[in-house]
Symmetry: C2
DNA sequence: CGCCCATCCTACAACGTTGTAGACTCGCAG
DNA sequence: CTGCGAGTCTACAACGTTGTAGGATGGGCG
């Protein structure tokens, strides 16, 4: 059906290897030969068979990206950034959704289907540090996010502790003292939730304010619905608070909604800050203060590092850790005289 | 490095073809041979080389999905649905972002890089009906969305006219008579914007209300920011309205935000309905009435139809059109005594 | 004039898989 | 006892590409 090197070679009256050489910009080809080959190529509408090429070369030019779910805005925006970063480097991206499910995540690490890719960017959610040894795989793997530390692979992450601390400090700088937290994960230490909670606690400590466990609402997922439910629980518990730190924007938006239903004014009664800098927060009512976690920097670093591992340039270099720069973004939800 | 059929064959003391047969569940294999091969496979950690397999079979098991941008929530949720639908059918999805740019879209249709896939799901935004002939490609292609009709390929779409008509009728049923529209595309006829505008006009006609062009705000993209800007223009123009139809949820949310800043109460002063049923609209303040466009149905149909084309079962069947069922979802933004 | 080297091109093998054709064994019907 | 078909397995070729080795031509230099 589709034209092959053979067809082009026949049409141009040269050997297939010469055609291959033309395609791969081999130096020593006479101008007129090259010309003839080019013409044959465009006449036949030839384009190389990538399966054959990758069988021969061992490279596919495709990287895998495994995220929990694209319908979670954070991962959609992350995927967007990563696809763009990959494109700049001539790579295509194949996306897997794990649903945040540990079994599914482990399966992906051992799935032969991934052989269609040169390497994997992996953002686990269900796995924990005890699963770190599963990351010992025989293909290039770069970890995204905060579920696992000290693993055997390169790791690109955001400054969770530092930025959560800054977010909390921001609320404190507005004179707030009772800061509720939405999105904790019970018993977690090194996941995003655990780290951000630690940052929160550090900021309190810095300000000499005792940590009140009653101010922390725990949840399983970081969906809008969970933010709403958590806020309802907080309100029902009767605990008092004058600010809220949402562990991500989605949670914060769900919670804000409930706060407003309950008649609390934002930021007057409750100042709110989220985390992720989703586009959504720029048009909510009120607009949402947040942490810009440096998504583009994360994406770019991750793809670069993965490509280095694929090309073998970094050979057996020990696992490296990268942390993106963050930024506090003040919007209406915390706009108060400082 | 990685084990091949040859290695397994050697270890099990059989021919490579027998190993291949075991892997492909060939019937006539003695139980003990099969056993031995299986053991060798797991011992060597063998998994088939997909490049070789697809070179041989001509199939990759991967489909392409080209959308404007994943950071637009609608496309993120669509991609989510499509990846899930593809997974159910044993397919992987490689995502391309076109940025809604016509040149980029045309490039994708002719790009050899797509040879890594068996077919393409394509959601154009920059192309128009005059570009329909570019869709005449020699690989399986299924069109998503509303930019092009009567093209040479299968086409999966939503009932734009009907559902926009229903959305408008919904607002009319609440006694509203001056319904603003946000998201029109100047001069467009067959894009989503054109079709939805037509549905809007039909609903007005049904109700015997004259169409007032001043109520239509035009915009280029369907981002939050555009919804906000359009609403500001409407307000500044001084035109009166008691309801608003946002051509998608994102626009509607951006516009709602501006409405509220301007002191208009929703739904009391202005009833609002959007389009897409994004998760976001369930937690906005107020929650957003919308059209559920049947995203899962679209995704499932699109993947099924593409797979049929790939397998050749539908051979030279003429292009088919599929329209998903929609549903009006009433939430707070239009909750008024009917 | 003869040699070497750079340039240009070709034949062949190999990547790992699967389809095709056929070899061999065995049990059973004729 | 022969022949046949079902069951089990193997050898070989092919998918389309690129690396390797090497052949042919011509120019420059000793």
């Amino acid at each position: 059906m589709a034209a092959t090197l053979k067809d082009v070679a026949l049409a141009a009256g040269v050997s297939i290897k010469t055609v291959s050489n033309v395609i791969n910009d081999y130096q020593h080809i006479r101008a007129d030969t090259k010309q003839r080959v080019m013409e044959a190529i465009s006449e036949l509408g030839y384009s190389p068979n990538l399966s054959a090429r990758s069988l021969r070369s061992g490279k596919t030019g495709v990287i895998g990206l495994a995220v929990p779910e694209l319908s979670l805005s954070y991962f959609a925006e992350l995927a967007d950034s990563i696809i763009k970063a990959a494109e700049r480097r001539g790579l295509k991206v194949l996306i897997e959704q794990t649903g945040g499910d540990r079994a599914h995540e482990l399966e992906i690490l051992s799935s032969p289907r991934l052989q269609m890719t040169d390497g994997l960017l992996f953002s686990p959610l269900g796995m924990s540090n005890e699963d770190a040894h599963h990351l010992n795989v025989n293909f290039p793997l770069v970890l995204l996010g905060e579920r696992i530390f000290g693993g055997p692979t390169d790791h690109v992450t955001m400054s969770n502790v530092e930025s959560a601390r800054a977010a909390t400090a921001h609320l404190l700088s507005k004179g707030r003292r009772r800061i509720a937290v939405v999105g904790g994960h019970e018993g977690e230490v090194i996941g995003s939730a655990g780290l951000r909670l630690r940052g929160y606690q550090q900021a309190l400590e810095d300000a000499g304010i005792p940590f009140d466990p009653k101010l922390v609402a725990y949840t399983t997922f970081w969906h809008r619905a969970n933010g709403a439910t958590s806020m309802r629980e907080l309100l029902e518990s009767g605990v008092e608070f004058d600010a809220m730190f949402g562990m991500n924007d989605t949670l914060a938006l769900g919670a804000m909604r409930v706060l407003q239903e309950a008649g609390r004014r934002i930021p007057d009664d409750v100042a709110v800050i989220g985390f992720d800098d989703l586009d959504e927060g720029r048009y909510s009512l009120p607009t949402l203060s947040t942490i810009d976690p440096g998504r583009d920097e994360i994406a770019d670093t991750a793809v670069r590092v993965l490509q280095e591992r694929i090309s073998g340039r970094e050979g057996g270099a020990p696992p490296r850790e990268f942390e993106a720069r963050f930024q506090v973004i003040e919007r209406e939800s915390s706009a108060l005289p400082g």
